[in-house]
């Protein structure tokens, strides 16, 4: 006689623990992040608006708060146009999805709180790096599949940019790995808090600088928004996209931006720890730091002009990568001395 009750209990426990919980967690995470993405666009428009002495969205809902939702509804309703001269319709359709999925997958390994990680893997840092590179794969595919001159140039620029800035970013993170002795993001946060400065942004100031610059380039934001340089390439790689597929690219960009900010919070700013505990909201400090970094991104966009393609490459290879290498040497020396 099999103990059916016990089996069911085990199964239930297993499902709840490993499958149900992960699913629940990831749903919560994706939902929250999507809301964040939507309201990041709103915040961007509002903040830049006020920086430029105008109002920003203020028509839909109170203070324009429903504007992002109205935008999404509008974009979903639109006809899904595939231009007749597209090189490969399948790739054309898939490209925004690749971008978005790759951007969103990184969320799975980022700890928002000690007990809130969808999958706590030991190679988390590598996963994030890999996924952010994959995200630009979608961009390159879109540029090639659109069969438009501007898209193609945008795609080429994106590939060159991502390759050079990926290296700088990874090298900047090597310092963090060396100090923490781990690639698990939860471990990194814990090691950080245990370290004398509480956050790595102080001992790793060079690394932090390189990481932030490279992250802006990685997510194609001003002043490194060359793949979509509006005044040169019209819209770069997504010049042929419209409707929901355009929205997916847009989402992917903001997902990438949020993931990069989260990574910076986790690796350099001490994650969910703060000077004091806020009761009831365990990720209060995490979100606060995240919002600050997002504000920084938006602020940069309102202030700076755009680099030229060759200058961008020069900055990446001649400034950021040597700086990141120098950072590794210094970190190594400190590690050896201590």
């Amino acid at each position: 006689m099999i103990d059916l009750q016990a089996f069911l209990n085990t199964a239930d426990h297993f499902l709840l623990k490993y499958f149900g919980l992960s699913l629940f967690k990831s749903l919560v995470l994706v939902g929250i992040t999507l809301l964040h993405v939507a309201y990041t666009t709103y915040a961007e428009r509002k903040i830049i608006g006020h920086m430029q002495q105008r109002l920003g969205p203020n028509r839909v809902g109170p203070r324009g708060l429903l504007q992002p939702i109205a935008d999404v509804l509008k974009l979903i309703q639109k006809e899904d146009i595939i231009p007749s001269c597209v090189d490969s319709p399948v790739v054309f359709k898939a490209a925004p999805l690749i971008s978005l999925v790759a951007g969103a997958t990184s969320l799975a390994v980022i700890p928002i709180w000690e007990h809130f990680v969808v999958t706590n893997v030991n190679m988390a840092l590598l996963v994030v790096l890999a996924m952010s590179s994959l995200s630009s794969f979608g961009v390159i595919l879109a540029g090639w599949a659109s069969n438009s001159r501007y898209s193609f140039l945008g795609g080429l620029r994106a590939s060159a940019q991502v390759i050079s800035y990926e290296i700088a970013m990874a090298l900047a993170l090597v310092g963090v790995m060396m100090l923490a002795g781990s690639m698990n993001l939860v471990e990194i946060v814990k090691a950080q808090v245990a370290s004398p400065f509480k956050i790595y942004a102080i001992p790793q100031i060079i690394g932090f600088f390189v990481f932030m610059v490279a992250a802006i380039a990685e997510t194609n934001r001003t002043p490194f928004d060359l793949p979509e340089a509006e005044s040169e390439l019209v819209a770069g790689y997504f010049v042929e996209y419209s409707g929901i597929r355009f929205a997916l690219f847009y989402l992917a960009e903001y997902f990438g931006m949020i993931v990069m900010c989260m990574l910076a919070v986790v690796c350099f700013l001490g994650g969910w720890y703060g000077p004091f505990e806020v009761p009831g909201v365990p990720f209060f400090w995490f979100l606060l730091k995240l919002y600050f970094l997002i504000f920084f991104y938006i602020w940069v966009r309102a202030t700076l002009p755009r680099y030229r393609y060759d200058q961008l490459m020069g900055l990446g290879w001649k400034v950021l990568i040597p700086l990141a290498l120098l950072n590794i040497v210094i970190t190594g020396l400190i590690k050896v001395m201590a």
Partner: protein, 410 residues
């Protein structure tokens, strides 16, 4: 047009990899300032050949002017450089007046200088806004529009129109300034010099801006003269050629202002020239306002100014029989006012030398009106300025020579 399409089609089907990469930039493009079409041959991101195509905004202003009276043709000049339309009107009126030998009252001359310089500031502000936006600095754009809005409001107060003003008349100006306008202009001239440093702090000390503009689109003074560049684009190359000083018109010879000159010949020095010019224009307006107070109450239009079909104080002339030709162009009263002859008159418009070559056969219509538009010449110089540079640079170069397609295509 078919040529480009054919080449692109051919390239699509061929396996050759050494052919240049062709990009058709425009006529709908966010950074070509209108309907300019550039046919670019690229090698990577470097421009091998640049072939500008124009004519998408060709309205036949010269042909239309031949079929209108002198006064009516003035309204068409608004539509040339619609950003600084007052300067176009003044240039046209001056040309016709020179042909007629008409003396313009002093007060009208001062007012014309004021509106010209206002148009210059408005044009340069719009130029700075779009140039900065082209290079990617978004915030400057809206700052500039804030101040341009103020100027347009003053224009509205002066003549009721904001953009296409049609304010000057042959023989003077339409209406005198009232006290409100003068007060507002005093306030503007007081405030504006404080606004310019705001833009400069945003872009002048920005390393990215300097990197994008210094050493880009370089042209020597000699070459620039040969290419026919005029205005700030020429003065950025170190040639002191400003028609307000070289061939003074209106009351510019009485005014105290400096001709802005920079010597590098790149995008950055053209930017510096225009920033300096805005300051000088502000100074000029200030001086003119003081001069305006000296001749309070004097007429603003000459007694013998030709009729406009808008009753000033003169009696109406008998209407002729309606013209048999269909279409919207009904020829109106023909008064033989302009003696036979020809004149080339150029003024220093915000964009450069704006010349009117008018040939009269003694009838009420001009026999030939030719408009020498600075934008036309500047676009023709684009290949020389941009070949060998990168795609991003051509955007900076187009911005730096300051073109308006309405004026280029006429």
């Amino acid at each position: 047009m078919p040529q480009a399409v054919e080449i692109i089609q051919k390239q699509k089907n061929s396996d050759q990899w050494d052919e240049p990469y062709l990009v058709n930039m425009g006529p709908q493009h966010p950074a070509t300032h209108g309907v300019l079409r550039l046919f670019l041959e690229l090698d990577g991101e470097t421009i091998v050949r640049c072939d500008p195509r124009i004519g998408y905004l060709h309205r036949g202003v010269e042909k239309l002017s031949e079929n209108l009276t002198y006064s009516q043709a003035m309204v068409l000049t608004d539509r040339l450089d619609y950003i600084a339309s007052a300067a176009n009107n003044v240039g046209y009126c001056l040309a016709v007046e020179k042909l007629m030998g008409l003396e313009v009252p002093r007060r009208a001359q001062i007012i014309r200088v004021i509106v010209c310089e206002m148009a210059r500031i408005a044009s340069h502000l719009l130029w700075l806004a779009t140039h900065a936006l082209d290079i990617g600095a978004m915030t400057v754009f809206l700052y500039c529009f804030r101040d341009r809005e103020w100027l347009l409001d003053i224009f509205e107060e002066i003549c009721g129109a904001r953009l296409t003003v049609s304010y000057p008349r042959i023989g003077g100006v339409r209406l005198d300034f009232n006290q409100k306008i003068i007060d507002e202009l005093y306030r503007f001239t007081e405030e504006f010099p404080r606004r310019i440093p705001e833009y400069e702090t945003l872009i002048d000390v920005n390393r990215i801006w300097l990197k994008r503009t210094k050493g880009v689109g370089v042209i020597s003074g000699e070459e620039a003269v040969n290419l026919g560049l005029t205005g700030p684009s020429l003065r950025g190359s170190g040639v002191r050629y400003d028609l307000r000083r070289t061939r003074p018109y209106l009351i510019y010879d009485e005014l105290d202002f400096e001709v802005a000159v920079e010597y590098e010949g790149d995008v950055y020095s053209r930017y510096r020239v225009r920033m300096k010019e805005m300051r000088e224009a502000n100074k000029i307006i200030r001086q003119c306002l003081d001069k305006l107070a000296e001749c309070e109450g004097e007429p603003v239009i000459a007694e013998e100014a030709p009729d406009l079909l808008i009753p000033f104080s003169k009696p109406k002339r008998p209407q002729p029989a309606p013209h048999p030709k269909k279409g919207f162009l009904v020829k109106s009263v023909e008064v033989p006012i302009v003696p036979e002859g020809e004149v080339y008159f150029a003024i220093e418009a915000p964009k450069g030398e704006l010349g009117y070559y008018i040939v009269s056969d003694g009838s009420g219509h001009p026999w030939r009106v030719r408009i020498r538009a600075p934008s036309f010449v500047h676009i023709s110089a684009l290949p020389a300025l941009s070949e060998g540079q990168m795609v991003a640079d051509i955007i900076a170069v187009i911005g730096s020579v300051d073109i308006v397609l309405g004026e280029c295509d006429r």
